[in-house]
Symmetry: none
Subunit: 417 residues, 2 copies
């Protein structure tokens, strides 16, 4: 049993866009114990596509295709599959109703062009796409299977989970199990983290432990392959426990948890409310918190105070404080956190200030210098950090620094209560 | 003349690492006017590698390989190329000296294992690797060429620029130039946009015009290959002009411009200030504006009013208005935009409200319904839209809808003045 993943799009083969779908699908197939032997990327050309699908069928039993299912003339996947299967395209009534309904729900008429999205190679099954107009295609040719999905990542991932994966399992494809546990750390660099767990990250360790850093979050990946889920879990569990013990407070979560998920979970558990005061992050901090569904009970709101006047007028930061210490300083960060807490009447105020660059900064306070502060009724904590990186990276990492400060504060709240 | 890019590594095909080399090489070959027709990724298996190289030689004249040149047992590229060329491996004396020297410079003795890195298929040329132990391989088979480079991105990019590119030019490959112009639209769906320019996007049109959608931004890519930069530009210019004329206000920018860049540029040109009032986007709108360096003169700040009380207390939205129409309504969006404009004393107030889901919404106002409003001293404009997609997509697209409303307002300001 071998699988090949085929990504279609001239924007991929030309290097304009980066293909992330193939990697995601590879991870999912690996979890099912299906080995992926090839990835192929091909542009929007009919002959090249037919060649690529035929080559894939030649060397793999399962071919997952992404892209080329849109309504426009350069979307060729339906036509390619019909050619490869040597059948004609037929209209799928259920898919057509779905596409029409999607447009109706948005108060728009279906453009005639979208009708082609309801076409399927004769004998193929449509794969439902609840959030988009492009149904997927499941095509069985003898002992081989092709699943074609949209290129839009959110539509593709949902279609794989809800439509493709059940079909793979029903057909007895995917017997072994590969499990991966990711442990996320914040507050120390990659090499400092690795020093504490270097015996686990050694090549050849079973289970395999890798370490990567992304936007200041350091992640340890523990990977185990076994016959059953329970056996793989048995390999992972003791290593995960040992790593968490060694890394202590640096660990904030695992798998899909990000700092904002953890912060919101702690707000919920402690039944607390928060408001944000943002200078350098300019809304990113509040937006990260808002990305967690159901946060509205806990996130009352926030203020973006990008100019100094706004800091004084909106948050009652004394202008003398800014004059004396500048806007990027510990006293101003504290005043912002305390000010926004009062203004919104929340349990917690969370503030960011700093220089994102590329211009700005002073002799003693270079670009990348940031302060974050968390205020409660009891006390206000503040943290300084100097980041490297681009303007966007400095903003993103500062939002994380503030979320991490909130997390550490809330974790100690739990201990106190 | 067609090229294929082949990436080798089990960590790529398993989805553990993301392949960024292929994208980089695609961009470089495109600049030289060499069309890339396929990317292939394959794991560290000898038979699969031989199959992949042969398939690539079957359909392309130039094959660029990355990875598999290390000293360990799973590094197979040298052996694969020798098998494909049907020759034996021979030791390259110059490469061996280079590898030994590298180790000496680091005060280490060369491990015997690294000696294999000096092996080359008979008749091949070594490609110098100043920063690493793996020399590359240039192999000519009849009219076809293979260049194998290390997988380490910093070594690969330098080897391409210094060793591979000069050889391509010396052999008269890639004399042409490929230019691409991207025209970005907002405010209509992909198929509605294509209907207006369908004669250009037709298969076989010269220059080639493709259409893609990403997060509600519809992009037309015009691609031309010619002998010189000027000739390629000559092909693109009239098509770009015609497309812009047909699409009118839907076009907001080109190439690397995004909606927030255009909005900030217009704020600068008109010397205007803005403040934001965000419910559904919860800071994302202000953050997008803040991502443009030097925006602080024009973006005074904003308010995130996530709960209804905050809308009333922070922005003086009458609570009776929310009771009568709900927070997701035209009157509330207008009151928010006007309220934040007054509060910050800016020329413009920009507001968002809506249901991001997955829960929430009402019978008449489903999840995905949003209102954006832009207020000036003269007038307030408001726009309703119903988005599909995930919570994150709805938030992101709503921020774009607000930026687009701001853009359209500022463009008419220019016309009025």
């Amino acid at each position: 049993m071998k699988a090949e993943i085929l990504s279609i799009g001239s924007e991929l083969v030309s290097g304009q866009n980066l293909d992330t779908n193939s990697r995601w699908l590879s991870q999912k197939l690996s979890e099912l114990g299906i080995p992926i032997v090839f990835h192929t990327t091909v542009g929007d050309d009919l002959d090249d596509n037919v060649h690529a699908v035929k080559a894939a069928l030649d060397r793999a039993e399962l071919v997952l295709v992404t892209g080329g299912l849109g309504p426009t003339q350069d979307d060729l996947t339906r036509e390619v599959l019909a050619k490869v299967a040597d059948v004609k395209l037929v209209e799928d009534a259920v898919s057509l109703v779905h596409i029409r309904t999607l447009f109706q729900n948005r108060n728009r008429e279906m453009p005639e062009r979208n009708r082609v999205q309801a076409l399927l190679p004769e004998g193929a099954e449509a794969l439902a796409n609840p959030t988009g107009t492009a149904p997927g295609v499941w095509l069985t040719l003898g002992v081989k299977h092709i699943a074609a999905m949209p290129g839009v990542p959110s539509e593709m991932t949902r279609m794989f989970d809800e439509q493709v994966k059940p079909r793979l399992l029903a057909r007895g494809l995917g017997t072994g199990v590969t499990l991966e546990r990711r442990i996320h750390c914040f507050g120390a660099g990659e090499s400092a983290i690795e020093e504490k767990v270097v015996d686990f990250t050694k090549r050849g360790h079973v289970p395999e432990v890798g370490i990567t850093v992304s936007d200041a979050t350091v992640t340890l990946r523990i990977r185990a392959t076994a016959a059953t889920h329970a056996e793989a879990e048995e390999q992972i569990a003791p290593v995960a426990t040992a790593i968490r013990e060694r890394l202590g407070d640096f660990v904030f979560g695992c798998d899909d948890e990000e700092l904002h998920n953890v912060a919101v979970r702690l707000l919920k558990e402690n039944n607390l409310t928060v408001a944000t005061a943002e200078s350098i992050t300019a809304g990113l901090l509040a937006h990260r918190l808002s990305s967690v569904p159901g946060v509205s009970v806990h996130l009352h709101g926030g203020v973006v105070v990008y100019c100094d006047d706004a800091k004084c007028q909106q948050l009652d930061v004394p202008s003398a404080l800014i004059e004396k210490y500048t806007a990027v300083s510990e006293p101003v960060a504290i005043a912002m956190a305390e000010g926004v807490r009062k203004k919104f009447g929340t349990d917690i105020g969370l503030a960011t200030t700093g220089y994102a660059g590329p211009d700005g900064g002073t002799d003693g306070t270079p670009v990348g210098t940031v302060y974050v502060a968390v205020a409660t009724a009891k006390e206000t904590r503040v943290q300084k950090f100097i980041w490297g990186g681009t303007r966007g990276e400095i903003q993103s990492r500062t939002a994380k620094l503030a979320l991490n400060l909130l997390r550490l504060r809330l974790e100690s709240v739990k201990i106190e209560s």
